[in-house]
């Protein structure tokens, strides 16, 4: 409860973790607010069905609040004038405004996760895929960090929920703003799942390695962070994890 998990990928695609957490929390009966900035709803829906969860059904019964970033952006830019005034302000309003302020997005998250009258779900969860896109759309790194901070206060502390955020990073990246955001988030996370490509290049049987870092050092018990490293292979409906060097292809 009240944990902030950071999904970080380097030189590879860590979105399989997002799919996992989405179906995991939905199956656990939590109320999920999913801010999907990079892909369409049908993409997640199809993968979730392979993993055994139906997103449309979850949306209908109110368990899942899905913000489809692409669609919302289009509505904002190409929307009709009359619709504008009657509807609520768009969560992605910062794209058209000069002030790089993610407050509208935060309000959206807060209203969707605050428990309503008839809700009987277990703890709220905020899932973001992926944060680096906000920088591409014109938000400053400080605005993004403020947004995450506000979300943590609202979701983790007040509502005792969890937050899972995906970011991209690169060791020798020239994108300083992105690296700033990622490093800052790393310091504040309770759990970091760091997905990397293998250092030696592409391999058909081992798609990459995942580093699991439990930030025990945040709990002020003078312990070091626990780090575990596994390698993984992604299949159509499943991901298999194994200890380094023990891939099925080798054994």
């Amino acid at each position: 409860q009240g944990k902030f998990t950071l999904l970080r990928d380097t030189r590879t695609d860590g979105s399989f973790l997002v799919h996992h957490f989405l179906s995991f929390y939905l199956r656990a009966g939590c109320k999920v607010c999913f801010v999907a900035l990079l892909q369409s709803f049908s993409h997640y829906n199809i993968v979730a069905q392979k993993l055994g969860v139906s997103l449309t059904a979850a949306k209908e019964r109110g368990q899942l609040v899905f913000l489809e970033g692409l669609k919302s952006c289009l509505d904002l830019l190409f929307g009709e004038e009359e619709e504008e005034q009657s509807a609520q302000p768009s969560p992605l309003q910062f794209i058209s405004e000069s002030a790089s302020n993610l407050k509208a997005l935060f309000d959206f998250v807060r209203t969707s996760l605050t428990p309503g009258g008839g809700d009987s779900w277990k703890g709220p969860v905020l899932l973001v895929d992926d944060l680096s896109v906000l920088l591409s759309l014109g938000a400053t790194p400080v605005a993004v960090l403020d947004f995450i901070h506000y979300c943590r206060v609202a979701v983790c502390s007040q509502l005792k929920g969890n937050i899972v955020v995906l970011v991209h990073s690169n060791e020798d990246s020239e994108d300083e703003e992105n690296e700033l955001v990622v490093n800052s988030l790393c310091h504040h996370s309770d759990l970091i799942l760091w997905v990397e490509g293998l250092a030696t290049g592409f391999c058909k049987d081992v798609h990459g390695q995942i580093k699991i870092i439990r930030r025990v050092s945040l709990e002020l018990t003078a312990e070091q962070d626990h780090i575990q490293i596994y390698q993984y292979k992604i299949q159509d409906k499943n991901v298999t994890f194994f200890a380094r060097g023990l891939s099925a292809a080798v054994l």
């Binding site: 695609d13 369409s40 392979k50 591409s136 014109g138 020239e174 490509g197 592409f202 058909k204």
Partner: protein, 341 residues
């Protein structure tokens, strides 16, 4: 689909035309946007499709020439490799996917009759005022987006109008995005005025493409963009990223390793849509060459190192190119270390 242009734009132009030509042959609608060349001229210059027989004959000739020479020679030294299947340099023609084109001929105008095509030529559209909220995007980009959105809506590609039961696909081609001709200064200065214009444009375009039945190819002069952070963000926002590196004017032109080819193809990213995994081919090392009639992309074959005196310089070069070849694509993994035995 996102193509990084090669230095002189020759080959990326070719890929661009291939994409559009395929659209014509399949009966898709086209939308061509360019700031440099009038779309009418681009369309006049599309390669002509090859009839099945002629291509098969050509390919067949080459294949038989190779086969007759080295068929069942049993290997003496590298006998372990005997059992591996013969490596195919070019994809087999057993499964037909797409069409082949003859680069030396242009497409006949009759083929254009059946399809609808729309064009956007920037110098002509400069007088129009965009009706959409520009949201601090470069106005040229905003105009293209508005144009695309209008066509998608009017022609019913997004399924919004139940009367127009449009089951066709719109192929969009945008040439040389990000170059100075589009009014964006990311290619000319290190600290451009609006660093987010291109990425915002791509995001909105992505939204439009996801919402409708369309596919898009964009060519970008990546070598001119000073700020590499932009290229990283652009790569994240695209589904497929292919880089073309031609050997013209570079030291590789005279390198004996690459004498058969005109350039390398770097696949930086492939789409991972609607599933957890993506379909990765076995090999990552691709090179292209432009023969008189055909533009082919093949697996890169390093010729055997037969020279007696192998100098230090060439060994270094081999190591460099091997490092280059071992880089995978972004969706899977990219390695940096070069294993030295």
């Amino acid at each position: 689909v996102f193509t990084e242009e090669d230095k002189y734009g020759l080959y990326s132009n070719l890929l661009f035309k291939y994409f559009l030509a395929e659209g014509v042959v399949c009966g898709h609608d086209l939308f061509v946007a360019s700031a440099k060349e009038h779309p009418d001229n681009i369309l006049k210059d599309l390669p002509a499709p090859l009839l099945d027989d002629t291509y098969r004959n050509e390919l067949g000739e080459e294949a038989t020439a190779v086969k007759s020479e080295d068929f069942q020679d049993s290997m003496k030294i590298a006998w372990r490799y005997q059992n591996l299947p013969k490596m195919e340099a070019s994809p087999t023609t057993s499964t037909k996917f797409g069409h082949y084109y003859d680069v030396s001929k242009t497409m006949s105008p009759e083929l254009f009759q059946s399809i609808k095509w729309h064009s956007f030529y920037l110098p002509k559209e400069l007088s129009l005022q965009p009706k959409m909220k520009t949201c601090h995007m470069n106005s040229a980009y905003a105009k293209v987006l508005q144009s695309i959105q209008r066509i998608i809506y009017q022609e019913g590609f997004d399924g919004s109008d139940p009367q127009k039961n449009q089951k066709n696909i719109l192929r969009i081609g945008i040439q040389s995005l990000g170059s100075m001709l589009w009014g964006d200064d990311i290619c000319s200065s290190d600290t451009p005025e609006d660093i987010h214009s291109l990425t915002k444009f791509l995001y909105v375009l992505r939204g439009l493409l996801r919402k409708s039945l369309s596919a898009c190819i964009i060519t970008v002069p990546a070598h001119l963009i000073q700020n590499k952070a932009i290229m990283e963000r652009v790569t994240n926002l695209s589904d497929t990223v292919v880089g073309l590196e031609s050997f013209i004017g570079s030291e590789r032109e005279t390198n004996p390793l690459y004498k058969d080819y005109h350039g390398l193809v770097h696949v930086h990213q492939i789409p991972r849509l609607n599933s957890l995994i993506c379909d990765v081919s076995d090999t990552k090392d691709l090179a292209f060459r432009l023969k008189r009639k055909l533009f082919t992309i093949e697996r890169l074959h390093l010729p055997p190192d037969l020279s007696d005196t192998v100098s230090r310089a060439s060994k270094q070069d081999l190591a460099e190119s091997a490092k280059l070849l071992s880089s995978g694509c972004g969706a899977m993994a990219i390695g940096k270390k070069h294993l030295d035995f």
